[in-house]
Amino acid sequence: MSERTSNQVDGFEPKIVAFLCNWCSYAGADAAGISRLELPPNILPVRVMCSGRVSIEMVLKALMAGADGVLVLGCHIGDCHYGSGNHRTVKRIPLLRRLMTYMGIEPDRLRLDWVSGAEAGRFAKITTEFVEAVRALGPLSLPLREGL
């Protein structure tokens, strides 16, 4: 058996919940599919109307219910369908990343980024990068999860 660090588990496939905003990132994901780009199968997409809808409750629930990482994708700043929804997301998610780190969870299990409806390639790149980043971190094992 090959040597491995305690974090790496053989055959570990990260489970990723991705919140995609309806107007840009979901369309971007769709475009990636239509263009037959190679996408990691680890992503569980959840369509939300705006990245501003992604409350910390949704992120925490995903992590506690078994996700190893959470990806939040929205329209680029200035392009939000609702004007300023992503202005809130861009403050909220980094703040939650800091609080997670403070509580002892790796911040890189949560990522916020922007993908427009035309950026199929960008969607494939970000999802692949994120899956690999979480794979490197290993499974999220929280005693917090017991019984959930």
């Binding site: 910390i56 409750e57 949704m58 925490l60 629930k61 506690m64 700043i77 300023s84 202005h87 809130r88 861009v90 403050k91 909220r92 998610i93 980094p94 703040l95 939650l96 990343r97 800091r98 609080l99 780190t101 403070y102 509580m103 002892g104 969870i105 790796e106 990522r111 916020l112 980024d113 922007w114 970000i126 929280l142 005693p143 917090l144 999860r145 017991e146 019984g147 959930l148």
Partner: protein
């Protein structure tokens, strides 16, 4: 100072300017507790000293509705220290309290003390001795100590390795009995139905177990982001001695760092978490 407060309270009640004065009194066990004075004859009950740690602003949101249908919202006078005034400012910014329905009796704050006479930790970090907002100020403003809050308590936790931090918080939060005293004592935790206390909540269950307890504490602290005035009311009432201020202060520190030095209750701007970008933020790289 207390004579000024009593005289003012008597005048306000006699003239009918306010329906009730919320202040402090000594209870039957000798401990200081909040007092609700409705009659001019009762103003002698009022006291003010270094034991008056409670944040009375908590009671204002509950009084911000008419007694009976068709009646006006009653007017209330309330005693505020500088930290209490900051949480009152937050409530005013959020339209939870009407400015013309509250008469603010500001007190020049001597700093609060623990039962053994030592100064309360939060007061050793506080650089305000006069409330930022009041209608009348009682007492002579003491000299303002030259202190800067270094957030050394938060930094001590930040310096621990990741696994130790997780172990530390799981240990602390495991003691929580979900009595919600912290939430009740907090002036800026005013939702009529708390999402942590619903049996049909979509997000957090009501069980008294570690996952739900940790979940509750993270959302509680996050809902106070840019709103917590660091009055420490939550920690003061916790029967299990959970260091809630360590979580609140971590969030406050990050909000100040990322959102151009924003501090809750020091301006009429609402928490930056609900406003648009101004271009002055120093938000971390988003990925």
């Amino acid at each position: 100072m207390i004579e000024d407060i009593r005289a003012l309270a008597r005048e306000l009640l006699e003239k009918g300017t306010v329906e009730c004065v919320i202040g402090y009194e000594v209870g039957p066990t000798g401990r200081v507790r909040p007092a609700f004075v409705y009659e001019p004859a009762d103003v002698e009950r009022l006291i003010f000293d270094a034991r008056c740690y409670h944040n009375l602003v908590t009671y204002l949101t509950r009084r911000n509705k008419p007694r009976k249908k068709g009646e006006e919202v009653p007017t209330t006078a309330v005693l505020v220290k500088p930290c209490d005034a900051r949480s009152l400012q937050v409530l005013l910014n959020e339209n939870q309290v009407q400015r013309d329905k509250v008469y603010i009796i500001g007190v020049a704050c001597p700093g609060m003390q623990n039962a053994d006479g030592t100064p309360e930790l939060r007061c050793t970090r506080c650089d305000q001795r006069v409330p930022l907002i009041y209608d009348v100020l009682c007492g002579e403003p003491p000299e303002v100590p030259a202190v800067t809050d270094t957030y050394d308590d938060v930094e001590r936790i930040e310096a621990l390795p990741l696994e130790e931090r997780l172990a530390y918080w799981l240990g602390e939060l495991d003691r929580c009995i979900r009595c919600y005293a912290c939430r009740q004592a907090c002036p800026t935790c005013f939702c009529s139905v708390c999402e942590a206390e619903r049996d049909d909540s979509l997000w957090v269950g009501i069980a008294d177990r570690i996952p739900e307890k940790a979940f509750f504490h993270i959302i509680r602290a996050f809902h106070q982001a840019g709103r917590c005035a660091e009055c420490n009311a939550c920690e003061a009432v916790c029967p299990m001695g959970i260091p809630l201020s360590l979580i609140n202060r971590k969030v406050a520190k990050d909000v100040a760092q990322m959102m151009a030095g924003y501090r809750a209750g020091e301006s009429e701007e609402p928490t930056p978490l609900v406003t648009m970008l101004t271009g002055e933020e120093a938000i971390d790289e988003i990925h």
